[in-house]
Symmetry: C2
Subunit: 233 residues, 2 copies
């Protein structure tokens, strides 16, 4: 095929539009008092189990909802449905979630009246790191069975997260995993990372994780009020 | 920005070129007697450990080399270096390997005189499924800690593989994982999948895995000879 060199006309900067939408949604959620948490990890690191355990821990004391992303099936939504409002986002093969699918899920959820909205991303330690889903907090899970060398090998995921949940800690006696080495490796990439070891099956560490979420929500609400006062002045 | 609708001129069909290159490389390797194995899985499912165990099992009886892909660091190459010729392919953030990086690795390996060339892909159960790396056999690892529900949730990876290694079987007593359920789920997507449970640390199942590789290599050589005779006739 022969062709001349020319500038390809681009209709819109789609990525900038999505970033803008995410920023607006983040502010709207903050004003409403809903902390949005983007939950990321490799496949099978325990995202759904952590959210099940969180819902069980809180019971009626917090209002939480989940949007759960997968390439195919609604298996995770079925697991979460007994515990809280949930909508499955099926990407049809795509390796991460983006804002338009999140918006569809929100419309299906109906109510907006939540203290916490968790977005459980597609299991993938690479691509989801590059997409802002309007979250206030980004949490990456690393299960002890994956090995303590993973942060350095998947740096963007850890660099863009505020918290690291080290999951499946009940398996520590059976696997070659040093908690210290994993934390050191992760903090070399992101020094401010909050690290929380959790076992969703036994409930160990869950109290600390739920307290972290409450604190993040309080901070967000305080900041949102300050921002509004600043705008009003 | 306003613009008129027009067809965007495309200089080359890059994907078709890569597929063509992969096909030619596959034939060249087959004539040389080198079985190329693309090894895929989630992060931390045990790809490097399986290749270490394979190299130890064979010792000098087979000539094997590894190209190992990662977003960052050369940690996996360092682990494999004591056992066999290895080159690290660093994608610089990209979520999968492609043919041009494989070619660079091959050039660095120097010798082409191997019975087996393993390409350890980036740890990612989604994106690498869409890229032909000139392999004769595609093997997906699923560790028992990831859960038996993964095949249906990541269907393309399992549909495009010829073999499934269920890894970390030493942890079966400690995790909620049904081998039967995982195999049933995977075979619903790919009925011809060869399934091999393996524990790389204890060596359980390694004999069967290495025999499978030998059989695949013999089949490839036999087929390659038949193809040449057919062309000659």
């Amino acid at each position: 095929m022969t062709t001349t060199n020319k500038t390809v006309p681009v209709h819109r900067d789609v990525k900038a539009e999505l970033r803008q939408q995410a920023e607006e949604m983040r502010q709207t959620f903050a004003k409403r008092g809903t902390l949005v948490v983007n939950v990321l990890s490799s496949p099978g690191a325990g995202k759904t189990s952590l959210l099940e355990a969180t819902a069980r821990h809180w019971g009626d004391r917090r209002r939480m909802a989940v949007l759960v992303g997968d390439l195919a099936t609604d298996r995770d939504a079925q697991r979460l449905a007994p515990h809280c409002p949930v909508e499955q986002l099926t990407t049809g093969g795509a390796c991460h979630l983006e804002i338009p699918l999140v918006k569809q899920g929100l419309a299906k959820l109906g109510s907006n009246d939540f203290d916490f909205l968790f977005i459980e991303n597609v299991g993938n330690l690479v691509c989801p790191a590059s997409h802002d889903l309007a979250e206030h907090v980004r949490v990456v899970l690393l299960s002890v069975t994956e090995g303590d060398d993973k942060p350095g090998k998947y740096p963007k995921m850890f660099r863009t997260s505020q918290a690291l949940v080290v999951s499946k800690t009940d398996l520590l006696p059976h696997v070659p995993f040093s908690l210290d080495a994993a934390i050191r490796d992760a903090r070399q990439i992101q020094p401010d990372l909050t690290v929380m070891p959790v076992c969703s099956l036994s409930g160990e560490g869950l109290e600390q994780w739920c307290r972290y979420l409450d604190d993040q929500r309080k901070d967000m609400i305080a900041k949102s009020v300050t921002d509004e006062v600043r705008v009003a002045v």
